[in-house]
C-alpha cells in the first residue's frame, strides 16, 4: 500500500489540489451527508434562491444513507452509496464551492469536468464496508430534512475515515487507470 495521507475536512484549496488519483487518504473533521432525495431538495432550494442546509464552500459531502443507530451508538452502518445517481446535481454544488465528495462508482463526464474546473476531489470509500466506516464516525447530527429519514442531511465528525482519491483536481480517474493496468 502506498503512503497514507491524512487530510482534514473542510478541505483547503491547496490540500485538494495536492491530492492525486490513487492516493490513499484518512479523512478527519466535519463532513456532511446527502444522497438522492436530499440532493433533489438542495437543488430545488438553489433554484428558488433559498439557502442550502450548510454553506458548501470547502465542504466535503458524503453520499450515504446510514442504517439506524443502535442504543449507545452514534450511527448505524454507514458505507457509501453509488455516486452516479448524484451526477445530475453535483456540478451545481461544485460551482457553489463544494470541494470534496465521498462515494463509490463511476461519475459522468460533466461531473469530471466540474471537479477539474473547481479544483475539487472525488473520494472513494469502500462500498459494503458500512460497519467499518461507521466506526470512524464520532458524532452525527441531523441538520436538515429530518422527514427524509436515512436520506436527511447530517453533519458528521469523522476520524481517520479511509478513502482513495478516485478523481483528482486534474480530472484523472483511478477507475480508468486501474482497470487499464490489470485488463487482459
Amino acid at each position: 500500500m502506498r503512503n497514507v495521507i491524512r487530510i482534514t475536512a473542510p478541505l483547503e484549496a491547496t490540500a485538494a489540489a495536492s491530492l492525486r488519483c490513487g492516493d490513499n487518504v484518512l479523512i478527519s473533521g466535519v463532513v456532511y451527508t446527502g444522497r438522492d432525495a436530499a440532493h433533489k431538495r438542495m437543488i430545488e432550494a438553489l433554484e428558488k434562491g433559498e439557502d442550502l442546509p450548510f454553506d458548501p464552500t470547502g465542504q466535503v459531502l458524503y453520499f450515504v444513507g446510514p442504517a439506524p443507530a443502535k442504543p449507545g451508538k452514534v450511527i448505524g452502518s454507514a458505507g457509501p452509496t453509488t455516486s452516479g445517481r448524484m451526477d445530475a446535481y453535483s456540478p451545481r454544488l461544485l460551482a457553489r464551492g463544494l470541494k470534496g465528495m465521498i462515494g463509490k462508482g463511476l461519475r459522468s463526464e460533466e461531473v469530471k469536468t466540474a471537479i477539474k474546473a473547481n479544483g475539487a476531489v472525488y473520494f472513494g470509500a469502500i462500498g459494503g464496508a458500512g460497519a467499518l466506516l461507521a466506526s470512524c464516525i464520532k458524532e452525527a447530527e441531523v441538520i436538515a430534512y429530518p422527514e427524509l429519514g436515512t436520506e436527511a442531511v447530517r453533519r458528521l465528525v469523522v476520524e481517520d475515515l479511509p478513502a482513495v482519491v478516485l478523481i483528482d483536481s486534474h480530472g484523472q480517474d483511478l477507475y480508468e487507470i486501474g482497470k487499464k493496468e490489470y485488463r487482459r
Binding site: 500500500m1 462508482g105 462500498g127 483511478l174 493496468e181
Partner: protein, 288 residues
C-alpha cells in the same frame, strides 16, 4: 394435514433478517480470503483486507455489514401437505420482515410508489417468490438485496440464431459496464431460458447457490468457469480500483425455453451476497 402457526413464521423471518444482514456467510469470507492470496493489485488487496475486517466488526457488534440492508427478497417453498394457521401467509412473512428490520436496526429502504417515493417506514412489502413442493415443511430463504448492485443487472431477449457466444458476451459486457458501481468483488447470477420473467427469476435465484458449488450439469459448470475467467480478466478489481478479483463466482441457472426465444438475464450481487434459510416443520394440528 400438518399445520404451522403464523407466530412461528414471524419469529423465524425476524431472526433471518437480522442474521442475513449482520453475518457474512462463510463461503463469501472464504472466497474473499482466497482472493486476497491471488490478487496482484496492492490497492485490491487492501480493499479485500478491509472487507474481511468489516465482516468481523459487523458480526461481533451485530451491526449490518452494509448500510443498504436491502429490499427483502424471500424464496418460500410451501409443502403441499401443510396449512398455515392463525392468519395469512404473505402477511405473516411481511410481519416478520417488519419486526426484523425494526429490532435489528436495519435500514428501511422501501418506498411505496416508484414515482412519489415516500418510504413505507417498515421495509415492506417484501418481494416473495412462492413454490409449492411435496411434503409438509415451509422453507424460507431470505436474500436482502441492496440496489447498488441490483441496479446494474440486465435482461436481453436474444434470437435463437444469436447463440451461446452472443449470450456470453452480453453477460461479460453487463459486468464491464457495471464496473465499480456494484461494489466488486461481485457474485454474478445468470438465468437463461424460460420466459422473460423466468430468466430474471433464475438469475436472482442463482445468487443463493453457495460460492464454490458449481452447476450440477458439467457443460454449464464449464461455462460458469469460463465466464468467471473472462470477468476477472476485465481488470476492474476490488471496488473497481483495478485488479484481478472482480467476481468471486458466476452461478448460472438454465430452464427450457420456446422455439422462438433465448432469454438471458444477469443479476449482480455485491460481496455482501446475503442469504439465510430456515425450514419450519409442520406439526400435527393438536400440537400446533
Amino acid at each position: 394435514m400438518k399445520v404451522i402457526n403464523i407466530e412461528e413464521i414471524h419469529a423465524a423471518v425476524e431472526k433471518l433478517c437480522i442474521e442475513a444482514n449482520c453475518i457474512l456467510n462463510q463461503d463469501v469470507i472464504d472466497a474473499i480470503r482466497a482472493g486476497l492470496r491471488t490478487e496482484e493489485s496492492p490497492q485490491g488487496r487492501e480493499v479485500l483486507r478491509l472487507l474481511l475486517e468489516n465482516a468481523e466488526i459487523a458480526a461481533s457488534d451485530r451491526v449490518p455489514i452494509c448500510q443498504d440492508t436491502g429490499m427483502a427478497v424471500l424464496f418460500v417453498e410451501v409443502g403441499q401437505d401443510v396449512r398455515v394457521v392463525g392468519g395469512d401467509l404473505t402477511e405473516a412473512l411481511n410481519e416478520g420482515v417488519r419486526r426484523g428490520y425494526e429490532k435489528g436496526y436495519l435500514r428501511k429502504s422501501v418506498v411505496k410508489d416508484p414515482f412519489d417515493r415516500v418510504n413505507t417506514g417498515d421495509n415492506t412489502p417484501a418481494v416473495i417468490h412462492y413454490d409449492i413442493v411435496p411434503g409438509s415443511n415451509l422453507s424460507i430463504t431470505i436474500a436482502p438485496k441492496g440496489f447498488g448492485s441490483e441496479n446494474m443487472g440486465a435482461l436481453k431477449m436474444f434470437k435463437p440464431s444469436d447463440g451461446l457466444p452472443a449470450v456470453l458476451d452480453f453477460i461479460v459486457d453487463t459486468v464491464d459496464k457495471a464496473g465499480p458501481n456494484p461494489c466488486p468483488p461481485i457474485v454474478v447470477g445468470v438465468g437463461i431460458g424460460g420466459t422473460m420473467e423466468k430468466a430474471a427469476y433464475l438469475a436472482k435465484k442463482a445468487l443463493l447457490r453457495p460460492i464454490g458449488e458449481a452447476n450440477p450439469d458439467h457443460t454449464y459448470a464449464q461455462l460458469e468457469n469460463e465466464l468467471l475467467t473472462r470477468i476477472n480478466d476485465l481488470g476492474i478489481g476490488p471496488q473497481g480500483f483495478g485488479g484481478r478479483t472482480t467476481a468471486l463466482a458466476v452461478n448460472m441457472e438454465v430452464f427450457p425455453t420456446h422455439i422462438a426465444g433465448l432469454p438471458a438475464a444477469v443479476n449482480i450481487n455485491c460481496h455482501v451476497t446475503r442469504h439465510s434459510q430456515v425450514i419450519l416443520e409442520g406439526r400435527e394440528p393438536s400440537n400446533a
